[in-house]
Symmetry: D2
Subunit: 340 residues, 4 copies
């Protein structure tokens, strides 16, 4: 699995040249088991190894997976409780905006971490999603992300961005953090990275933190050759094509306008960023009803948020404007029925 293959070489070339180099980024690529939680587990272990610390800061409403190491970082009560395990070596902090606009939660976090009697151990890492896909489409501002990055640097902690759901163009740029002016030490990717729904995940590691010894984090399915092939194709086909970037921008614009229109009309709040948005219906029964109605009419949507009160839309980023229009018409129809 660790050996080279044509498919693997092809993917690595494409990713390095067409994703990393064009963005002036330098990362080593680690292939873990092809699920997001495998990649999160690897990222966290590496941060602990690099810092010789154990604590990891994760955020309210964060979702990072269901294996025990990842689950300790995940906020969801149902997932946590089902494990009947002690989830430890992690500290919860409030995400951007969690306590309202007046309170900068990064200030709260810095104060407690820098207080010798604050009682929170200096972390190995901070792990965050720039848009919280499962947690309710909460978004972190560039300013907040930069402060978290600065706090991490001050404390000698690593900054891990979990781009499993928000990455691969979902927010309009390949990485969700490109527009936030931060440079994570580790980036975790999965879900759409294969371009074709195949199991695949990546851990991107700043070269100075690539300190694994051989075999320290192993597994059988670390290289999925099928996924390498499709991923290489997706990268080379889409991410080198200016027309695709135009389409993506137009899609974002159209998608956003539709949602704002709905929001104004029905007086619900739009949440999220780019092609990863939804509407907070405040009531999980309404949200569930809308999801069912959408499905009946051919539109697949999900509910998310602490109480599943938000309907989330993740259209394919290659969708056409016409399809966006159609989808939004179905969505509006469902809202009208459910809230009648």
């Amino acid at each position: 699995m660790d050996m080279r293959s044509t498919a693997k070489d092809g993917f690595i070339d494409a990713f390095e040249w067409n994703i990393l180099k064009t963005r002036g980024m330098e990362y080593k690529i680690q292939f873990t088991g092809p699920t997001g939680s495998n990649a999160v587990e690897a990222a966290v272990k590496l941060a602990r190894k690099a810092t010789n610390r154990t604590n990891v800061i994760s955020f309210t409403n964060g979702f990072h997976g269901c294996s025990l190491g990842a689950l300790a970082l995940t906020g969801n009560h149902q997932n946590r409780h089902a494990s009947k395990s002690l989830l430890n070596q992690a500290t919860r902090a409030a995400y951007d905006g969690y306590y309202g606009e007046e309170i900068d939660t990064s200030d709260l976090l810095e104060k407690i971490l820098c207080d010798p009697s604050g009682g929170v151990d200096t972390p190995a890492a901070f792990i965050l999603e720039t848009v919280q896909g499962e947690g309710g489409l909460n978004t972190a501002s560039a300013q907040w992300c930069k402060k978290i990055e600065r706090i991490a640097r001050d404390l000698g902690s690593l900054l891990i961005v979990d781009d499993i759901q928000a990455g691969c163009g979902r927010t309009g740029s390949f990485f969700s953090f490109e527009t936030l002016d931060i440079t994570p030490d580790i980036v975790v990717m999965a879900k759409s990275i294969s371009g074709y729904g195949l199991p695949m995940s990546l851990v991107l590691i700043k070269p100075e933190f690539d300190i694994w010894n051989p075999g320290e984090h192993n597994g059988t399915f670390r290289g999925n050759n099928h996924a390498f092939v499709t991923s290489e194709q997706a990268i080379n086909h889409f991410w080198t094509d200016p027309l695709f970037m135009n389409l993506l921008n137009e899609n974002q614009l159209s998608f956003g306008l539709h949602l704002n229109h709905i929001s104004d009309k029905y007086n619900y709040r739009v949440k999220g960023r780019g092609m990863m948005k939804g509407i907070d219906f405040l009531d999980e029964r309404v949200a569930a009803e809308i999801r069912r109605e959408n499905f009946k009419n051919g539109l697949i949507t999900e509910t998310c948020g602490p109480r599943d009160e938000i309907v989330k839309l993740l259209p394919p980023i290659t969708v056409s404007i016409t399809e966006v229009d159609q989808a939004m018409a179905i969505f509006e129809h469902s809202i009208a029925r459910a809230t009648a």
Copy 2:
């Protein structure tokens, strides 16, 4: 040790009649090993047993002892780090006023605890000091304490007050929480409870939570007969005597006036409550210098706070007004020298 003795019976009678009954309180008395940390460990175990939960909320700058169960609740970095142990099954929250006057930290705590994706497990208990003796003489307001109590009740969690340092009259009433209008489920006492410096500690338990089976939390030195005798004497001698209460009130008044005068003159902040106050000199070197100077002139003081920047005064509560005057003169002299 569990058997009755004249000394034990005498203490129990005195405590029940002259402390609990006169205050309309009803608690079972448990004698643990005669140190504060033994008592804290017992309190936390009992709360976990009563709720079948493991998480315990403790606060920034809280100090609850150095055995592993108690240390998980203690904020101090040096104590925590020295253990080289994973301190878990505890969550840190911000104490009253920790983030400044504008932010009500009990609101922050309630929000995260009531959010199903907040990622903080519903606690077995909240443990707090009403005045943080080691953590820097921070005080909790009645309003804040009542909100914490209400949150605990809402969540089915127990409220534990650690009155080891602030109890036994130190804040002007026997229990530090008497003036705060809260009813803890468990109260932990030690330090001054023997009235004579002998090792002794207590856990006071609301009758409905006295669910220990025989031998579940045992130990050799659970009943220190010497301490029972001195404690009974202290209770019967002082706490039934109105003149003592007058003296205590006068001492508090005089002590407070002196400190306010010093604070005004030197422009440092007074912290604490009752006979448990100090001045924040902002700089641990100044504080250390003042402590040394005090000692040279016959006044024993301590430094406390996250960086030992606060000089703490805990005069015997039976001190005379003249002695308070003398002590304050020495203190002011030390400040003058140290800040010259």
Copy 3:
């Protein structure tokens, strides 16, 4: 992912009819993230949920994956140490034969678990490999496995067989435990289950323990449709064909005879079972040299065991007798060179 697909239905039908029903077995099939460690994490969580206990017994030299929950069960020092995490909620016990032939390690385990002062908490589950693929090709006898099963039943604990490496025909029968006369409560499968090297894993659960609520253990890549297709084909093509079973038996016989011959000639011990065998060269440098020499001559082998002192051979179970002969000739040649 949780929705039905033709591929998924096809696989489920094939697995239920041609694997489970023909063996008189009844299990629910759970699709977790497609790696062995995801499946192990799910199995352990389910056992904890079913028993409301946390401790899990795993065995010396056991290997169950590298995510934190799985890693706590894995014996390998390098993997454990690299995590820089506290690996807990697990207790190590000695595998069959670990202390030599005279000591029945299941007796040791039963004694300590049944002693109220033994100090090992009653487990949620026992997890074992019937042949330890990574740990050195140690094999568990039917007698020992049955005793472990009986101890588990007596204590109300679940028996989990990790058949990730030893399953799918590797030991001569589809499940490694078919010849051992045990009925695991949970079986974990991965690696060869797709029949084609695609990421896929399964958790088989006795119906009475299928107590998951929706979404309690979720993940993106729980259904890999490519793998469903290839797995269905492998099951229907091979496991319904008597000729395949004959071939497998002949392969085992031939493979075993070759290894015994080598063992006799060079005086090293053969380890393992079925098509999962190797030779213990006692010295990791010799083993490494043989592996390199094998590779040079076109034979892929691995080293395993506590010090990588064992050369492990896992020929495809569909290999031809001629290929076995060729491989064994290369192997013997490598041994001759390395030990010359």
Copy 4:
């Protein structure tokens, strides 16, 4: 508390000259909170600090206290379970003789600890009682203790002897390990050390491991001056007096002969060593009946062992021969009644 006092100086002088120096021992004396569990917590923290490891090996039927750090080392199910806490950072091993005479449990322990895939992390320390007072009066042989000491040295782990119950002359010598030819790195003492039943405990530390920084393990009641006075008297009065040593030897002899006689007559097994012996009645109801009968006739005894099936006798070591005779007569009478 950390300051010198006449009482403290007196005790230290007495202990250093009349206990340590006369035995050619060199230890630093740490005063922790005056309970055994406080001392155990301090010892374990120090071992973790000295080795930068977390795991501690403790033994079946071991009892080291009920605070969480100590409780993790304690075998008793009832105490462990009552805590409703995850007890971790500890590994259980079998005490001397636990699996019968044929199996040397130190060999089992060494094998698993030295196996890189054994799955037990290299420990910071081994903690053991030479006679298990609560666990059932099991005794460790000199040969076994020396092997444990050698394994600890080989692994760079510290050897901690918990002499809380077995120390202070209880087994015939001041330290229980004097006759075992081992040199613990840390010794924990409490119970009888004050000579008068006062709360007092000690941690004895080999000078090279006295690496505490100021205030790292603090507490209020670290110096109990009453206990210093009585302890100094006990040391100077008894442990410098050859007549006391003669009396102790005679008492042991007489006590042992009586018990052997009872054992022969009633066919129950004697357990323990020195003045710390008992009889295993195999049935906790019989043991409880004998304890009650003893009490009725003026003889205080305890039950111990996994199921409280052993009646334990701990006569004062300063008892007279006549008193031993009287006590044994009562004991035999109780046995006769209970087993009639």
